[in-house]
């Protein structure tokens, strides 16, 4: 059904800080889980079972609800060889698909380039948040980075609006090409004009949006609502990106992690409902990932940086279920005290790029990797 879709849309949600896989999808029938999670473990009677000895964290009732409708794919044990436990480096690897060397091209940057090779639409990729994630960075690929939709734009500090209009007019003149000033000036010029064009189009979005869905108030809720506004305005955006920070739960994990998952689950649910209300849920695949899972054994208050983690694909186009295997918790199977990854993340990206966006996965993830059938 979804394969006939003309303009599939991807929404990537980054759980920043290293989401604790073992407390998100809990192997609640495994005594080793409780042996290792003496402080932060979730009691057997509280979890939300989904079969195969696994269960969702009770804070994820919204996502569990979508799972029961067959709209959530869990990708277990996702990671890459020789895991790196630095947030930045590991996040970088997830962003660039380059575990060996430091890469500067983002996989979504390459996807945006392939979707819109002539960069005809400056809004093919839109990030909600400040600062461009490396995943979307690729020289020559314009991406709009929006902190708050309502106040987004160039020279927003200039008031009244009539003066700002004049200032923007001057801005566009001063960013227009001037022959012979060199390629850095040219690059700055086209980047500035792209930013201006994107801001101009996005300006119209808030007025167009109407919805009966009231989003739960949280960072991720606000960002997904912003995405819903742009998405339903049909500006041709194909890839959205946003993040939910705060998953670095070294200490005091129990209440922090619960609150994060709760707001995530509510936001995803609200977003999905919003898409349904706008008859566009069949068009949208949501993909959640994090830079790593956390140590198997808790540290008496929280959990430290680990390896093998979890990704999820959510939405109408998704064939729900449990994919790949949950890594073994047995001491002999761990790698430096961490879960051993058993599915390469580039295979999951490849699945999304090829089976959902209809692109050649090899160039986007930098090689051929085993794909899954969640689309």
């Amino acid at each position: 059904m979804t394969s006939i879709n003309k303009d599939p849309i991807l929404v990537v949600v980054q759980l920043t800080g290293g989401n604790d896989y073992m407390n998100t999808v809990i192997p609640y029938e495994n005594p080793l889980y409780y042996d290792n999670r003496t402080t932060v473990g979730i009691a057997q009677e509280d979890v939300l079972p989904i079969g195969q000895g696994l269960a969702f964290n009770p804070a994820l009732s919204g996502i569990k609800n979508l799972y029961d409708q067959g709209k959530v794919a869990l990708i277990n044990g996702i990671g890459y060889p020789t895991p790196n436990r630095s947030h930045f480096r590991s996040m970088d690897i997830w962003h660039t698909c380059e575990p060996e060397k430091v890469g500067d091209e983002g996989w979504l940057g390459r996807a945006i380039r392939d979707l819109d090779p002539k960069a005809e639409n400056v809004l093919t990729g839109v990030n909600f948040g400040r600062g461009l994630p490396r995943a979307m960075a690729l020289t020559g690929v314009p991406v709009a980075s929006v902190a708050v939709l309502e106040t987004y734009g160039v020279l927003t500090g200039i008031t009244p609006e009539s003066e700002r209009t004049q200032a923007l007019d001057l801005f566009s003149r001063m960013y227009s090409p001037i022959a012979g000033t060199g390629h850095v000036m040219d690059y700055l010029g086209s980047t500035g004009l792209d930013a201006l064009k994107g801001a101009d189009i996005l300006k119209t979005v808030p007025d167009l949006y109407q919805s009966s869905v009231e989003y739960n108030d949280s960072v991720i809720g606000r960002n997904l609502k912003g995405i819903a506004k742009v998405l339903t305005a049909k500006l041709g955006t194909r890839i959205f990106y946003t993040q939910q920070p705060g998953y670095d739960t070294h200490a005091n994990q129990a209440p922090t992690h619960k609150a994060l998952l709760e707001s995530l689950s509510l936001a995803i649910n609200d977003f999905y409902e919003d898409l349904r209300e706008h008859n566009t849920s069949e068009n949208v695949l949501i993909y959640l990932f994090t830079e790593f899972g956390r140590r198997v054994r808790d540290n008496g208050s929280g959990t430290d940086h680990g390896a093998g983690g979890l990704a999820m694909a959510i939405g109408d186009p998704v064939k729900g279920g449990i994919y790949s295997e949950y890594p073994s918790l047995a001491v002999g199977d761990l790698e430096e005290g961490d879960l051993k990854h058993n599915f390469d993340f580039r295979g999951a990206y490849g699945t999304v790029a090829e089976k959902w966006l209809g692109l050649d996965a090899t160039t986007i993830v930098g090689g051929k990797f085993e794909q899954l059938d969640f689309v």
């Binding site: 990030n127 600062g131 001057l170 003149r173 001037i178 000033t181």
Partner: protein, 481 residues
């Protein structure tokens, strides 16, 4: 007022610091170029800030509890010293880019800020001593796992990056500078170089500082062969061998050139890409050896070189986010003491793509035009326009007053030229000047000049000047240092 000299002086201060206010330029111009260079090269002889007063009012300011607070401390210091000791801060920023160490892993703000302090204090001195300080720096030891580098079980992370990123570089002139064997042997020589407490947990009185500790019984004292020399080397011996290599002279010279003179291709390509100006690089390499690895001497030669002073070198660099933020703050003359808004202001660096104290990797940030994407450019433009458009900032007030005092009648072009000069001798392309002048003319209601006389006249004049400064701060040209 010799215009050319002022423009050159402004160039010197943009590179050796974060730009200069017009009052500072007056003083430097009186000193003359070479004396100014000399003064800049000796920040330790210039007045410091009253840190004891700061500590009295801001008890916790050095005990930052999170990344954002640590970044704010860094930006705040760069800003308060930008006037009196510009190079002290610029060299700290330089070494932070080369010896990029990140809180994402170190998780100990005070320890990493101590590393930056080391760059402030020793960053202009002997490179050998600096490298040794780095090898003993607790943040670096933890960042590159040298605390896991044991006798009989070496961890090569530090040994490798010391060679690849901190001293010699992978290769030059198409050749490789060291072998895998060199990496292994260097790592062995640094076994037993560790820290005494890598516990990052908060304790009742904050985090316990980490200290360097040498553990002789964990040191591999057997024979090693490194760069063709054989002996029972310890870490210091390795550093002694490293600093005598021509590759190290080249690598450090290129870094200085890339940071202080003109944007070069990204560091990983240096093995195969020759320097943009081989002549100046050679001069710097010679000075490296003849001065016994003294960074201050190398910078003296650099700042006094014809190439540095030439038109070609002006505006040949895209400002880093830290340069945009600190350079703009310096123009404002604000934040003599920290106040609430410094926090959000400092975070501007992050929004523009430079998360200070948290580089993307040990390779630091990609620089030059790679600072720019549509998101980061919008952040730059809005940041600068918002800051310089605020007449309540003492520095902005002073610039407006200076311009108003020049004459009672100003035509659009002299307003523009005046603003460009006051904002640090920014150069605007003629075409863009025309565009800007046309708008000012419209603002002035088609009058070619305004007379500053009545309060209304003055208000309208001020408004025009502020608008002009905002627009200059929004240009492409303003992105260049």
């Amino acid at each position: 007022m010799a215009g050319t000299d002022r423009a050159l002086m402004a160039h010197l201060l943009r590179r050796s610091g974060f730009g200069a206010t017009f009052q500072e330029l007056d003083r430097y111009c009186e000193l003359g170029y070479e004396a100014a260079v000399e003064e800049i090269l000796h920040p330790e002889q210039q007045p410091g800030i009253e840190e004891d007063v700061l500590e009295r009012y801001f008890v916790d300011w050095k005990e930052s509890r999170n990344i954002e607070a640590a970044m704010t401390e860094f930006v705040y210091r760069m800003n308060v010293y930008a006037g009196s000791r510009p190079l002290q801060e610029k060299i700290a920023l330089f070494w932070h880019g080369v010896f990029a160490t990140g809180l994402a892993k170190v998780l100990h703000e005070k320890t990493l800020l101590n590393q930056i302090d080391m760059f402030r204090e020793d960053g202009l001195n002997n490179f050998r001593d600096l490298l040794l300080g780095l090898a003993k720096d607790p943040a670096m030891i933890f960042w590159l796992d040298n605390n896991f580098n044991h006798k009989g079980a070496p961890n090569e992370n530090w040994g490798r990056e010391l060679l690849e990123l901190f001293s010699m570089g992978v290769g030059m002139d198409g050749k490789e500078n060291y072998t895998e064997e060199d990496v292994k042997e260097a790592a062995r020589a640094f076994t037993g170089w560790t820290i005494d407490d890598d516990n990052v947990t908060s304790l009742p009185f904050g985090k316990i500082p980490w200290l360097f500790r040498y553990v002789p019984e964990d040191h591999d004292d057997d024979e090693k062969t490194f760069q063709g020399e054989t002996g029972n080397f310890n870490g210091e011996d390795i550093i002694d061998i490293i600093v005598k290599q021509p590759a190290t002279a080249r690598f450090i010279s290129r870094h200085l050139y890339n940071f202080f003179v003109a944007d070069e291709p990204q560091v990983p390509s240096w093995q195969h890409t020759p320097p943009g100006n081989l002549e100046l690089i050679k001069i710097l390499e010679d000075e490296y050896f003849s001065s016994n690895y003294n960074i201050r001497s190398m910078l003296r030669v650099l700042f006094n070189s014809d190439h540095f002073k030439s038109q070609e070198a002006r505006f040949a660099k895209v400002k880093s986010p830290a340069e945009v933020v600190v350079g703009t703050l310096h123009l404002l003359g604000d934040f003599k003491f920290p106040k609430r808004t410094i926090f959000e202001t400092a975070l501007g660096c992050r929004y523009m793509g430079q998360d200070l104290l948290n580089p993307p990797s040990v390779e630091g940030w990609h620089t030059g035009e790679e600072w720019i994407d549509s998101g980061s450019l919008v952040e730059r433009v809005n940041f600068v326009a918002d800051q310089v458009g605020n007449i309540n900032q003492p520095g902005v007030r002073a610039m407006v007053d200076a311009l108003l005092s020049l004459a009672t009648e100003l035509d659009p072009l002299s307003i523009i030229d005046g603003c460009l000069e006051l904002m640090g001798h920014v150069q605007l392309h003629e075409k863009n000047k025309e565009h800007l002048a046309a708008q000012i003319r419209t603002m002035l209601d088609q009058h070619s000049a305004f007379v500053a006389g009545s309060p209304e006249d003055i208000e309208s004049a001020e408004k025009t000047i502020l608008h002009t400064m905002k627009m200059i701060g929004s240009t492409r040209e303003y992105q260049f240092a």
